[in-house]
């Protein structure tokens, strides 16, 4: 093969290998090191180093070295005049020799002593991305014009690789910042919701903490039903906000220390629809929060309000909040009555499942309570909310299991939503 043709073939091979290397998404340092290897091997240059310019400022970072002694001290900075000289050289496809006074004058002796003869600027989109310091060719011949072209083409390739790596780094940084901002926003949202729930509960002096407890019970039930974390978080929010409509109901009605009359009851029953109106204009990060507030007083038998929905017409989330809401109402003191014994609560659940409550929701809640009582779940959230000495484990566990068994035989498990 003609030497010229063989040189061309070898150079093309080097360029092809370099293209593959630069496009790889693996280890960046390895990519730079291999690229320098390919560059040196293309023209059989015995030694070299690749320096990267800082994106802003005058710093230089040595990224790869080959064939240079351990005492090699690369230049660590580059001033604007030196940058200008290198940019001009890149435009003219010429190399800058290290004995030229314009570039790295102070390091000249060190560089020449290490056998570094020239500098190839690495320019991407008009900016100096880095530079390659090169020793002489193994042949001892001077660099030809063809060599200049090959070196510039290969160095441009490497520059694109470094530039792309920087862009990816910036993108990753921005994505990370966005993730943090998103997390902050979610925290702010959750805190705002909790503040709202506290505001709702403050209005009702007899049910303080009710919204928070309904949120927590709803979360426990949904998790037990196998909902994913995102959906569990959503149902907890719905629980916190289910009574937001009470903000538009007169305080005297909410705080009446006796059973209210029909007129007051109608006024109070406005709160689910009012809650829906309040929550609808808000762009919640979770689905159907306003609907869950609207329908938390619906009943499976259609005798609930505000829309008289029946069975599956009621969103499953609302059915969960309904149970959580009723359970908290039965297990906390009210102005006109004391809370009911837990065995009575179970009787109420048994009697009203299929009428007011969804069987599978009741089963899930009973199962979660059982798990807490039996120590299967370490964090005893339900029991903590109910307070000490309210549940007698020895009697209640069999009762819970009996209820679960009854309901399971009456209502085969339905497909879970939000999973």
């Amino acid at each position: 093969m003609e030497p010229t043709i063989q040189k061309l073939v070898h150079s093309f091979g080097s360029l092809a290998d370099l293209g593959q290397e630069v496009a790889s998404t693996g280890d960046f340092d390895e990519m730079v090191r291999t690229s320098l290897h390919l560059l040196l091997g293309a023209l059989a240059i015995r030694r070299g180093a690749l320096l990267e310019c800082e994106s802003s400022g005058d710093g230089l970072e040595c990224r790869a070295v080959w064939g240079l002694g351990e005492d090699f001290a690369p230049p660590l900075t580059i001033d604007p005049a030196e940058k200008k000289t290198l940019l001009t050289a890149a435009r003219g496809i010429s190399l800058v020799y290290t004995d030229a006074p314009e570039v790295f004058a102070k390091q000249r002796d060190n560089l020449r002593g290490q056998g570094i003869e020239m500098i190839v600027p690495m320019v991407v989109r008009g900016e100096l991305t880095g530079l390659v310091l090169l020793g002489g060719k193994a042949s001892g011949e001077p660099f030809s014009t063809d060599d200049f072209e090959i070196l510039h083409a290969m160095v441009r390739h490497i520059g694109v690789g470094i530039h792309t790596h920087r862009l990816l780094g910036q993108l990753e940084q921005r994505a990370e910042e966005n993730r943090r901002i998103y997390e902050d926003l979610r925290t702010i949202y959750r805190d705002t919701v909790k503040a709202f729930a506290a505001a709702i509960d403050i209005k009702d002096k007899y049910t303080q903490g009710h919204s928070e407890r309904v949120g927590k019970y709803s979360e426990i039930i949904a998790r037990e039903m196998g909902w994913n974390e995102e959906a569990v978080e959503g149902i907890a929010i719905a629980g916190y906000l289910h009574d937001v409509g009470k903000l538009v109901v007169e305080r005297d009605i909410i705080n009446a220390p006796y059973r209210i009359d029909a007129k007051a009851s109608n006024e109070l029953n406005r709160h689910p629809a009012a809650g829906y109106e309040i929550l609808s204009p808000i762009h919640h990060p979770y689905a159907d929060i306003p609907l869950m507030a609207r329908h938390h007083h619906e009943r499976l038998d259609g005798r609930g309000y505000p829309d008289g929905l029946k069975g599956d017409e009621i969103p499953l989330g609302a059915r969960i909040v309904t149970l959580a809401d009723s359970f908290d109402a039965m297990t906390t003191d009210r102005p006109y009555r004391k809370r009911r014994p837990f065995a009575d609560v179970l009787d109420d659940l048994r009697a009203n499942t299929g009428k007011q409550f969804d069987g599978q929701v009741v089963v899930a809640f009973c199962r979660a309570i059982c798990k807490e009582l039996e120590g299967e779940i370490k964090e005893r959230r339900v029991l903590k909310m109910l307070g000490r000495n309210y549940i007698e484990s020895e009697q209640i566990i069999p009762a819970l299991k009996e209820l679960i068994s009854e309901l399971n035989s009456n209502n085969p498990p339905a497909a879970a939503a939000g999973v």
Binding site: Q6, G13, D17, G41, I45, A138, S139
Partner: protein
Amino acid sequence: MGEATLLPVRSHCVGTIAVVYASDYLNKLTGERIERECKRQLDSGCRALVISFCDTELVNSIGVSILLGIIDVAEKNGARVIFSDLNNQTIQLFEMLGLTRHVDLARDEEEALLSLSDFPSHSAATSH
């Protein structure tokens, strides 16, 4: 192909001469393994390296760069380097790039060892 799946670099010593066999395609992965083996041989006292290209069909630019590095290290250790069993294409490439200014070429391993006959040669040979 992962490094773990590659065969080890073949080499053996004839006295203070190490014969190291380059693989069929001298690229980054195989080149670095050969470089390590040559350095190991030099560190353990070898005064001459014979790199046999009897299995080598192609040398890419990383291979060239690594061979230059081996030549450098050998020179610093005062050791000689001989390339043997090169095919015509590789000879032309090395001549064009100037590697032949720094190493001697031998037709085969026997000729390489013969040209190094002034080096201390013991019968005990080790292989890796």
